[in-house]
Symmetry: C2
Subunit: 319 residues, 2 copies
């Protein structure tokens, strides 16, 4: 009987499920709203129902379910499967997610921080396949990170390690909601790119960003398209994003000397715009040997990374 | 029979040996010049002779020698005991240190990077005792580092991890010999403090540093003493050193969420001058939970950290 696992990406907005076969194929998917504002019990119901659907699918397809893996934003106590705190999920404080799900399912349940699940997805099944040590950086609304050393996620003493987005890349830079100044997230997230674009659009220079802003069409994708068409302000904005990302990547290389760094998340769609400035900084700043060692790769799994990593927790742990 | 190990700190200038008993006492020491400029064979002879002396001491004291540990600056292949490259030791390229010493001694030989040996010393026997995860930062001529995660040194793919001194703390800061700009080492090393002091002394302001410079008495200690007596320029310089160290420490806390950070090396003598500005930055920049978790401690072992860490490799590995 072929094995499979159910991987879940529990986001603040969307709940996404995948039935993942051992050969790394997602053979069935479900997607629904999280309805996080409705509180813990409603989310748990929606979660249980989605898992139930895929478990039945597995049974009807003749697949043995090895377990359920769930990526959750926030602070997770991985060992006991408890969600300690989740800023994106109202009311989720000390929710014993594993034991709650074990009331409905007999399969082993693995709970992991969502950025770590994403990193594990790319590590096991995506761009990082074959590497021993990897840092994954996700460029989305914010900038997230996951550190994998010798096959294990480094979670730290409180399960809070990997906050790559809050490395200080410019000590006197703009204020970050986290309280720090000049965090990487203030330069290389979608939010930061949007802010830089809005600022450029309200300046005196000629730029296509003005039209985009006025017509309400200013998105990271639209800014990237403007850059690809040669708009100087748009190019400069993505260069800034790449440059500061490069400073953080150089720090990581000198600190961790890892085999590869994978850059995922929505913003990695603008890869050609950021990779040049990024590599320039790495070359100028990091030590030659570890910089030469470290492959800098674009994430391959996109939105599936979280589902695959979560499923992998069951597939890889339970042989 | 009580066990002991011989720990060696092989520096560019000094060769220091200690016979370390299992109860963590250094019961005998030797110190000699490395004579690094004389080449590999001369250094090996001096190394062998120093170890021989302590091995005889162990025998005469009725101690069983569990092994020999050696901390060496540079890139070390720990698994096979080979010194790949050492910028401070001319000619040391691919020197099979373990097998060379095994020609003269029957004890197991452990070779480790010197910053890692220092970190292990503080971790096993010093300020970091009892912690699971620790980063050690040494403030000396340069700024070194060692990362210990769950009891193991994280060495990275090329044995080059832990270069805390070359984190970029100011992207447009002064050029570093490593090629980067604004490295931590350019603010918080003895070299940086001396340079900042020389610059202040040649300025127009009133400062005791002028007299120190003229009389050839400008040292990090003298600058620290001037600061303790209230000299504003001297205070400012150490505040800068502490501030930028704080930025790097905040980065490490957000990235690694480790239990403690130990700050050693000669410059840690000015602890009261740097710890305030350092903690201010950490409080302003790092996430609350991991920052609250992380104890920031002054190293306790000073010059003995390297010897103790090296000896610990034999005492802890060989039960």
């Amino acid at each position: 009987m072929q094995r499979a696992a159910i991987g879940v990406d529990l986001g603040g907005t969307n709940l996404r499920f995948g039935l993942v076969r051992e050969d790394e194929k997602i053979i069935s998917r479900r997607r629904t709203g999280t309805m996080a504002a409705e509180g813990v019990e409603i989310v748990l119901e929606r979660l249980t129902s989605g898992i139930q659907t895929l478990a039945m699918k597995a049974e009807s397809t003749g697949l043995e379910v090895a377990g359920i893996g769930i990526g959750v934003p926030g602070i997770i106590s991985v060992r006991d499967g408890i969600v300690r705190l989740s800023p994106n999920l109202p009311g989720w404080q000390d929710v014993p997610l594993r034991s709650r799900l074990s009331e409905s399912f007999q399969y082993p349940v693995y709970v992991e921080n969502d950025a770590n699940a994403y990193a594990l997805g790319e590590y096991w099944f995506g761009a990082g396949k074959g590497a021993k040590s990897m840092v994954c950086i996700t460029l989305g609304t914010g900038v997230g990170g996951g550190i994998i050393l010798d096959g294990h996620v480094w979670r730290g003493a409180d399960g809070m390690a990997g906050e790559v987005g809050h490395i200080t890349v410019n000590p006197d830079g703009p204020l970050c909601p986290c309280g720090n100044r000049g965090c990487l997230e203030r330069y290389s997230s979608a939010t930061a790119v949007m802010e830089m674009a809005a600022q450029a659009a309200s300046g005196s220079g000629k730029t296509a960003l003005k039209t985009l802003l006025k017509s309400g069409l200013l998105t990271p994708e639209a800014i990237a398209n403007a850059a690809k068409k040669g708009d100087r302000e748009a190019v400069r904005i993505y260069s800034e994003a790449g440059k500061y990302l490069g400073i953080a990547v150089a720090d990581l290389i000198d600190l961790l000397n890892m085999e590869c760094i994978v850059i995922g998340g929505g913003m990695s769609g603008a890869w050609e715009l950021i990779i040049g400035p990024l590599k320039e900084e790495v070359q100028a700043r990091a030590f030659k040997i570890p910089a030469g060692r470290c492959r800098i790769l674009r994430g391959r799994l996109k939105d599936d990374a979280g589902i695959l990593g979560a499923a992998g927790l069951a597939l890889k742990t339970n042989p």
